[in-house]
């Protein structure tokens, strides 16, 4: 029979897929955002199943918490509703559906073959402590220290840009 983690996996997956679909299908943008929060919670649950406790917490705090709240504020400030939504023409919709289905086909085909691949054993399974903050920090400051430091350039550029675009025009 199924053990508890398998039940959790299938439950979380169903929830994630359902809420992701609802993000796209729901008419009200605020509902979309709320479903996205649910989706992020489900994905965070997957992190927990993979022994990544730190990622679990960070995903909830940063994505489901901070970023989604920002999204909600933005949507409320833009005051989107059904009337102001632009209507796309039918050819554009058709093209979008066709290309979306093609992408789905490719991805399903890719993941269908995944089980039978010549896959090497995944390290994360071998070491159950890989997701602890301590180990993650060690990785981050030894092997990945260069990307870690370089990303500061990314953040300073983003900050400078935000300040620049947000500043009042003085002249």
């Amino acid at each position: 029979m199924y053990n508890i983690s398998e039940v959790a996996f299938y439950g979380l997956s169903t929830l994630a897929i359902f809420s992701a679909l609802m993000v796209v299908f729901s008419r009200n943008p605020v509902h979309s955002v709320l479903y996205l929060v649910v989706c992020f919670f489900a994905i965070s649950g997957h992190f927990l199943l993979l022994n990544a406790q730190f990622l679990f917490v960070v995903n909830i705090i940063v994505y489901a918490g901070a970023i989604m709240v920002l999204f909600l504020f933005t949507i409320m400030m833009l005051n989107l509703n059904r009337e102001s939504e632009p209507h796309k023409n039918i050819i554009l919709k058709l093209a979008a559906v066709v290309s979306g289905c093609l992408l789905l086909l490719v991805l399903v085909a890719a993941l269908k073959g995944a089980e039978t691949t010549t896959a090497m054993p995944i390290d994360a399974i071998k070491d159950p402590n890989i997701g602890l903050v301590k180990n993650l920090g060690k990785e981050l400051f030894t092997r990945f220290v260069l990307p870690f430091e370089i990303s500061s350039i990314l953040f300073i550029a983003a900050m400078v840009g935000t300040v620049m675009l947000g500043k009042k025009k003085l002249t």
Binding site: A114, P147, I150, A157, V160, T171
Partner: protein
């Protein structure tokens, strides 16, 4: 590597010059700093690149990376000579703009030197995010805002594809390092799992967006024509060079033995990019938009260099990007002056009579256009020649035939500018040009000439 650190510090220092309001010193500091970075980068050319590769497996400054970085730094330095006149009226934000351009350059250098997917992703993002902002620096113009938001939305979307592709590749190969993935690809060359193939394809989608390859080029004309022209120049030169450096590095060093998988797709993209770029350029009324489409078609020629992939390919791609960047720099530089002089009008008629009152500018523009069209004594011809010969060596005749036909189409719209400049017109004005501005354009045009006569000065740098 030292060059990247120095460049990051230079960018931060430039932001400080804005705080202390050293307006006069800003430009000399940046240019001298870039010269220093160029030297630091050049020193890596003579050392064996082992230390950084062993230490972290994140970046590797082999000759490929050093040579491409040198080109990126040089073109950026030339662009800074154009900055002063272009941003004359902009007072408040000028140091921020300089800083962001330098940060973009950091991203470009990382894209030329990555040896790990994490660095590739960071490089692309460090290149892109300042660009999204720079495209919108003319805040009061609708087109600039449109360019910025369009570039941002489309760019983020394409980054999603890139990340998804990386995840799938990781799922198959269990490593992010280029070496590790190459070993995996070599070992399983015959029967690569579908998940890996899908990963390569999705990564290609993300990369082709950055180089504006044909089905993913829709953002390019709007963003190029909407952004401030100086930033457009930056996109057409530095960003395009960096994107091709990254694309070729990815395909050559990592997915080289998986060539049968991506070859047909990239072949089609190359053909489509050339055809769409050239034939759309024919119908443009504005020169800026025409140059945007010309940039798309040049991406098509470069993709031929990528799919040829033999021992000369890296050199020929480098030569082509360098020459194309120089020619773009000159043509956009002259375009900026003409447009500003005509109150924002960038149509062909704005160029009428330029040769009479501004012979220097008209001469520079003619040189650039002839080089872009690929007329023999100039470097643009040898760029195309190397790329085509390279593809012929591998027996890819049909794509070369398509490319040659397309270059003939290209001659028509490049010559339209020249014809307009030498047409008789009543009273065009004399355009005031700052010496620094003219200096940069003359140096670029002279390089086009010199590299055309001595192409082997740079075409063998990676051997």
């Amino acid at each position: 590597m030292n060059a990247i650190i120095a460049l990051s510090l230079l960018g931060i220092f430039t932001l400080f010059t804005g705080i202390f309001n050293w307006r006069k010193a800003m430009l000399p500091i940046v240019v001298i700093g870039l010269a220093g970075v160029f030297v630091l980068n050049g020193m890596d050319y003579f050392t064996t690149p082992s230390w950084y590769a062993d230490y972290t497996h994140m970046v590797i400054f082999d000759r490929y990376a050093v040579v491409f970085s040198a080109a990126l730094i040089m073109i950026t330095a030339m662009l800074f000579f154009l900055c002063k006149q272009y941003y004359q009226k902009e007072d408040n934000n000028i140091s921020d703009i300089y800083g962001l351009i330098l940060f973009t350059l950091v991203g470009g250098m990382l894209m030329a030197s990555f040896s790990n997917f994490a660095m590739l992703f960071l490089g692309i993002e460090i290149l892109s995010i300042p660009l999204y902002i720079l495209a919108g620096t003319k805040r009061l113009e609708v087109t600039s805002n449109e360019a910025s938001i369009k570039y941002f939305l489309m760019g983020s979307f394409s980054t999603g594809f890139l990340l998804f592709g990386m995840a799938l590749v990781y799922g198959a190969a269990h490593t992010f390092t280029l070496d590790g993935i190459r070993q995996y690809t070599d070992a399983h060359a015959g029967d690569l799992p579908t998940i890996f193939v899908a990963g390569i394809m999705l990564m290609l989608v993300g990369m082709l967006f950055k180089v504006s390859g044909a089905p993913f080029h829709f953002w390019a004309p709007d963003v190029y024509s909407g952004a401030p022209t100086l930033i457009t120049t930056f996109m057409a030169t530095v960003v395009k060079t960096a994107a091709f450096a990254a694309l070729y590095r990815l395909l050559f060093y990592t997915f080289g033995s998986a060539k049968p998988i991506w070859f047909d797709a990239l072949w089609g993209v190359a053909a489509l990019t050339m055809i769409i770029g050239n034939f759309s350029a024919l119908y443009q009324h504005g020169v800026k938009r025409m140059l945007a489409y010309s940039s798309i078609s040049n991406a098509g020629y470069l993709l031929i260099g990528v799919i040829a992939m033999n021992t000369h390919s890296a050199n020929s791609i480098f030569y082509y990007t360098l020459v194309y960047s120089l020619a773009s720099l000159v043509s956009f530089g002259v375009l900026m002056l003409v447009t500003q002089d005509n109150g924002g009008d960038d149509s062909y008629t704005a160029f009428k009579g330029l040769a009479r009152n501004n012979p220097a500018l008209a001469g520079l523009m003619t040189l650039a256009m002839l080089s872009l069209a690929g007329i023999p004594p100039l470097a643009g011809f040898f760029g195309k020649y190397y790329i085509f010969i390279n593809a012929m060596e591998n027996g890819y005749i049909y794509i070369v035939l398509i490319a040659v036909a397309n270059s003939l189409v290209g001659i028509y719209y490049y010559f339209k500018v020249i014809v307009a400049m030498f047409a008789k017109d009543t009273a065009p004005t004399k355009i005031a040009v700052q010496p620094a501005y003219l200096f940069a354009l003359v140096v670029a045009a002279a390089l086009l000439f010199v590299l055309g006569i001595f192409p082997d000065w740079v075409s063998g740098l990676m051997n």
